[in-house]
């Protein structure tokens, strides 16, 4: 029984990590598409989203069955509950990648601001690092690393504030920029939300090793 459980648990971890990589790719591609005005790539992100949704359902089903059939307690139970919660967060991160992709498809020859697009690209790089690191912290059950990643979300929040501010300055100076800048604000907002979800996963990782639910990055909450 124990060996079956261990195998199922390993499988669950593997499938969760794979889901994380799928989500990371979706975020990366959606931002790349937005910056490069690449509508084809944006469509690809949207078309592939159902694979991520299906993976969430698969993880949900497997976790539930493991709890019902194997009746795990303490740490084992905690691990499975964490997969259930964190896979919801991953799925929502992918939804925001889809939102970014949809913004890309909507854009019709707006006036662009290269400086702000560069800031968005930097912000996206930071978010990408957070996503990659949180998957590693999850696999290694590394709560110290998780706390460090949650702190990075403060930097993502700062990017958001900075981009918001830049957009406001540009819009004040030039009304032609308003439509494009509003799109920048939306996309920066999606990235900021993705950072929040990474922070949630960090909280689950801390919960996994301590059994305590803590709220990380509270100081930077807007």
């Amino acid at each position: 029984m124990r060996r079956v459980f261990e195998e199922e648990l390993n499988d669950l971890h593997l499938r969760f990590s794979e889901m994380g990589m799928m989500v990371n790719e979706a975020i990366y591609k959606s931002v790349k598409a937005f910056i490069n005005h690449d509508k084809e790539l944006a469509k690809e992100v949207i078309a592939n989203d159902h694979f991520i949704n299906e993976r969430e359902l698969d993880l949900e089903k497997r976790s539930f069955e493991m709890i019902a059939l194997q009746q795990p307690v303490t740490t084992d139970l905690r691990i499975i509950v964490t997969v259930m919660k964190a896979s919801s967060d991953l799925e929502r991160m992918a939804d925001h990648a889809v939102s970014i992709a949809k913004s890309t498809i909507r854009v019709k020859g707006n006036k662009r601001i290269p400086e702000i697009e560069a800031e968005i690209a930097d912000m996206a790089d930071k978010v990408k690092v957070m996503v990659e690191e949180v998957l590693e912290a999850y696999v290694k059950n590394d709560s110290k690393k998780a706390k460090k990643i949650a702190k990075m979300d403060g930097e993502v929040d700062l990017y958001f504030k900075q981009i918001y501010k830049s957009c406001i300055e540009e819009m004040k100076a030039n009304s032609e920029i308003v439509v494009g800048a509003s799109d920048y604000m939306l996309v920066a907002g999606y990235l900021e939300r993705i950072g929040d979800y990474v922070t949630n996963i960090c909280e689950w990782i801390v919960y996994l090793s301590t059994g305590k639910v803590s709220e990380l990055n509270t100081t930077n909450k807007k």
Copy 2:
């Protein structure tokens, strides 16, 4: 054993519903404070947020212990997993109420647009109805109602788009409005996110009665 379980389950439901009411009050007060420029009320929302966080931890702990000690299966297990997931959603809704309250405190004599403020108030009313109804659907385990509420989120999304559009028009026409309108866009964005979280809870309610995780309101996802 079964009687103890039933009592604990009732208690869990009651505490979850109470948490929902606390969150609903926070959202209501935060929007009221924003519209009425009432910084004192906004501070109250921020000061009370810790009660909501504590309630989430309490629900998390109780749910976990119930699974570990009583080893429920099928429907009972599903109910408890739902409480765990939905209480995370409620807590995040409250975080957005805090964000709205913080916007209110930040505002310094911006030029205001009464028409857009009225639209935000209407949007907030719609969100309030959604929150109240989802708590009722949860208590009554009413998946039909849950699906109906999820559809209302489409209307909330439309409000968001409309407010966004109005803000863009106003900013194009008058650069003095840029700072204030950006705040409107942020607040409308927080309300839109709250609507998304209500939709998530609707999905958990459907999951509760069908055992299937479904994604409601996909057509209106931005």
